[in-house]
Amino acid sequence: MTKTGLKTLGLAGVEELYQNKGQRAKELAQEGRKVIGYFCCYVPLELFTALDIVPYRIHGGTTEPITEADAYLETIMCPFIRSAFDLALKNRYDFLDGLVIPHTCDTVERLYDIWTYYREPVYSHFINVPHMLHASSFEFFKKELETYRKSLEDFAGKKVSDEALTEAVKLHNENRALVRELYSFGKPDPPLAFRSEILKTMIVGLGLPVEDFNDLLRSVIQEIKDRNEGPEKKAARVLIYGSVVDEVGFVQLVEESGANVVMDDLSTGSRAFWEDVEVTPDPLDGISNRYLDKIHCPRTYRPQGETPEQDLENRFGHIYRFVKDFNANAVVLYVIRFCDTYELDAPDFIDYMDSKDVPVLYLEDEYSATTLGQLKTRVQAFLEMFD
């Protein structure tokens, strides 16, 4: 693993990277590093790290109108995916050497064929992630990761030893510990950091080698600890639950509407980092177990509980634990339109939180900055209960 370095650390470094998304990955590509783009939080990053490949979480752009993707993708599908592919068609992802797509949901699965046909990346791989959690599902997923490992090794032109992979696991666990430390700033009242600062750090970190991300996290954590300013105390302490939020406009909107956002469960936030990979003799055991079972996304079918209450607990209990741990008193369920798995969960989720006396604001959004005005009205109306 090669040690790299960021020019600017701390929140200023975060801002610089956020304003120039992809810049760091492009620099590393120019230095000869291989950079691979990926979607969702089901791609084991440890394999990239062990092979000295820079992972780059592909993002969309809420402020950029979709102008090219309409000729390839239907409008009735996830607007985030349409936006990301639109950027690809506009050559914004030409710095990527390859693409890895996991089977997380229907739309991401279908994108693989389309992206590889029209963009022809040098390297591409599809990881079939089971929806189920049966014993055989874990065995299958490990096999899929073995196939992926071989494929990635062929691309990198070198083998990855179990020892190197274990070292990568430890490095990423260190990364996860730092993320949890950063997130702990949401616990005090008032929180020590704005969620927009935390989420921005996460978003830029998703485009960095883990060593860089760890350096950045340490510097941000230290800066926040050392500073005297931060959010003011507010009655509303909100948790945001949803899939992809890769720009901070919506989170800032909630914060500006009178709430402190103290925690998130987002694919681009805590969900991708919260649980460690267990260090196991065969590192793929720990990796496959963590990525299949420990990531809580509605795309994974949690086996039916013995009672309706237990069923809901299996599906949403982790979010309520976040609510308790972070002393949140409201949840914003932020769903990108056409996301079947979230939309089919929504009424159950709202009922579950209602049973815990936690109010939920359910928003379906178009993944476009143009909707922020409408969202603000809804958010402000919701937060009035805390006045």
Partner: protein, 434 residues
Amino acid sequence: MADKKTEKTTATKTTQTVRKVRAIVRDLYQNAREAKEKGQPTAYTMTACQYDDILAAMDIVPVWTENYAGLSAAKRDAERFIVKAEADGYSNVICGYVRVGIGFDALRKEVGGIPENSPDGGMVMPDMMLGCGAACDPRFKWYQALGRYMQVPTFSFDVVWPRVDTDLDEVRDYYVKYQMEQYRGLVEFIEAHTEKKFDPERLWEVIRISDATWYKWWEIDQLRKAVPSPMPTEDHYNAMVPAFYCSGTQMALDFYNDLYEEVKERADSKVGVIPDEKYRLLFGGGLPPWHTMWIFNYFESLGAVFVMENAYRLFDPVEVPSHIKDPLEYMAYRSFLRWTLRYDKAAERSKSATVERLLEYIDDYKIDGVVTHATKSCRATTVGQIDWLRRLNDYASIPTMQLISDIVDVRDYSEAQWKAQIEAFVEVVGAHKN
């Protein structure tokens, strides 16, 4: 806004045999209600899970929930269920089938029984719900969501297949093994929740019948290459019922034997769907518009016949290696082969098995134009259509058109707009052909 209903929703059928289907569909729901009364286990089920043979072998009476939604749409009686599901908080962009199903069970809970005047008497309260991950996510999320309305044991399992660019030799063994384990889990679940015991010999018997059924259906489609077309797409969407919903039964096999004889006679005698078949069209994908099936007849009024289709057409014949002696392994292997058919061709050309199938049909069925149906709430069959049509144009010169509505929800369907679009398209097909 939906236009006022001006004509019936169903299409005029060409073949006599498919006229039997309406009674078969009615029997599906009647039989399930009677089975329940007799204590025979019933299950909510989904198409394409490829577990039909297991269900038949273990005497589980299926209630095909997607079919019920289509039936409700065909009877223009889906809206009350859709509205109920949306009133309960389900987004209006969720799969129309799912909204009908959820709405039906929500109303059932509300009124304490099958909602009044439900199409074909309604769906029986099942003893179990069996979802799967084949084709789309709502297939397992739907039954999970129903937990808020009914306490019914629910089992879901994966149906997996690799992508076109996969080295099949590298992954085949563990894909087949996983699929087999998934089926085994299903069998264990059924055994645990019923008094039924799994009998491998019984399953082999069912497999033999279902393979023969699917093969006979495939032979019928070979006859449909004839000019003029002896059997149109609208008949296919009736003819699919026995294979999709009664697979593994002698009745289904008999149905296709009868249909084969009729279609062969029509082909041999050169009796077409319409007297003057000017253009031959392919229904290239997307679910059919159950709410407006007569639209196929409208094309015919313009001289264009849909002679073949690429929806609700899953399985061409495959040959499972003879050394496989375990019926569950056979089913798993068969599933793998079915999903990966045409991968060799796809790897060499279009990189898409679907596009290869369309190209094959265009040649074999002498197709003059391709029409797809983008359904607003079904991402599984809609996302990718633009891509297919683009790729078709890379390898074939043929007019294409995408119609847009929904599978069941007619609230923003426009009949006038469709007719204008169809007329313009048929003109283009004519100009291209001539």
